[in-house]
Symmetry: C2
Amino acid sequence: MNGTVEPIARMAAQLARLPGIGQKSAQRLAYHIAGMPEQDVHDLAAAIWQGRKAVHFCAICGNYTQNEICDVCQDEKRQNGQICVVRDPRDVAAMERMRDYHGRYHVLQGALSPMNGVGPDDIRIKELLQRLGSEQVEEVILATNPDIEGEATAAYIARLIKPMGIRVTRIAHGVPVGSDLEYADEITLSKAMEGRREL
Amino acid sequence: MNGTVEPIARMAAQLARLPGIGQKSAQRLAYHIAGMPEQDVHDLAAAIWQGRKAVHFCAICGNYTQNEICDVCQDEKRQNGQICVVRDPRDVAAMERMRDYHGRYHVLQGALSPMNGVGPDDIRIKELLQRLGSEQVEEVILATNPDIEGEATAAYIARLIKPMGIRVTRIAHGVPVGSDLEYADEITLSKAMEGRREL
């Protein structure tokens, strides 16, 4: 017995599996939840489970959506001809917070990482090439993270696409190198879009 | 539209209500959960909801338990005659990790805080006095937090109990073991000097 009653220990163990939540925070959270009104805990658990069940990937861009096609892909006011390529769905949310970009997206759902055994077939590069074949695309903006994997992914995609005669750009290093796209503020992201250069 | 699909936004809003989880962490967690295998998310949500439903307060000490009486109160190997008074159930877990204390506990489920309208009737002081009347108690160890509210609570309870002829002690204040003297605040250092012992 370590003094923690079993259902709370089990709750803490589950919470500790989430990124950025250590053993101590997990136990603190579990004790907090044990002391919350039942209705609030029900709402929390339901939001987690139902949220997970409600979302899946957009058949076109690979972002999360509740429908078959996501809101951005469905939106006729968005510019065709421009595709912004990002790693994760949360990067789309970051770009959208900027309110400056009116084109389409393509979510790779990963980045090339030979060290971790992630190759070109493991992320949605094939799907991107298919879109370039069927949509009228003038520019592909590579907005993968400004880290080693993101740069490698951008370079790889640029090499594939440039021979097709499509303009390929990379967001500028206005975003701090080594950081995470998701945490960039709107102005930094906006500068990065402005300063994008030909690859 | 802020670029976040609604079920994920709802999940993030619920997570952001937990202590120590800000808006950004909540959104990051929500995206992470959206990308987890359904079974794992089910286990997480179930551990939260079923954990909350499974626990309630021990009828004797006020700690969390799955039964009517908690494991410590039921344990015949624990010493009667000593009651360690703490604020929260998680403080019991902290004391138990120490493995040095073999008496009983009493969880106040709060601390006196006139500023927040928490008076003696709002925490489990009455229940403590009832136990002192019915159990054979020789020592009450006040292990409330070493902050203003915890000190006030300890002082209040000491005043009530001492006239009953029961020994009342307070856990020592001092510099934490393994810490750096340089970083100790003045009040802690002063308490550590005050409480110095012959070697």
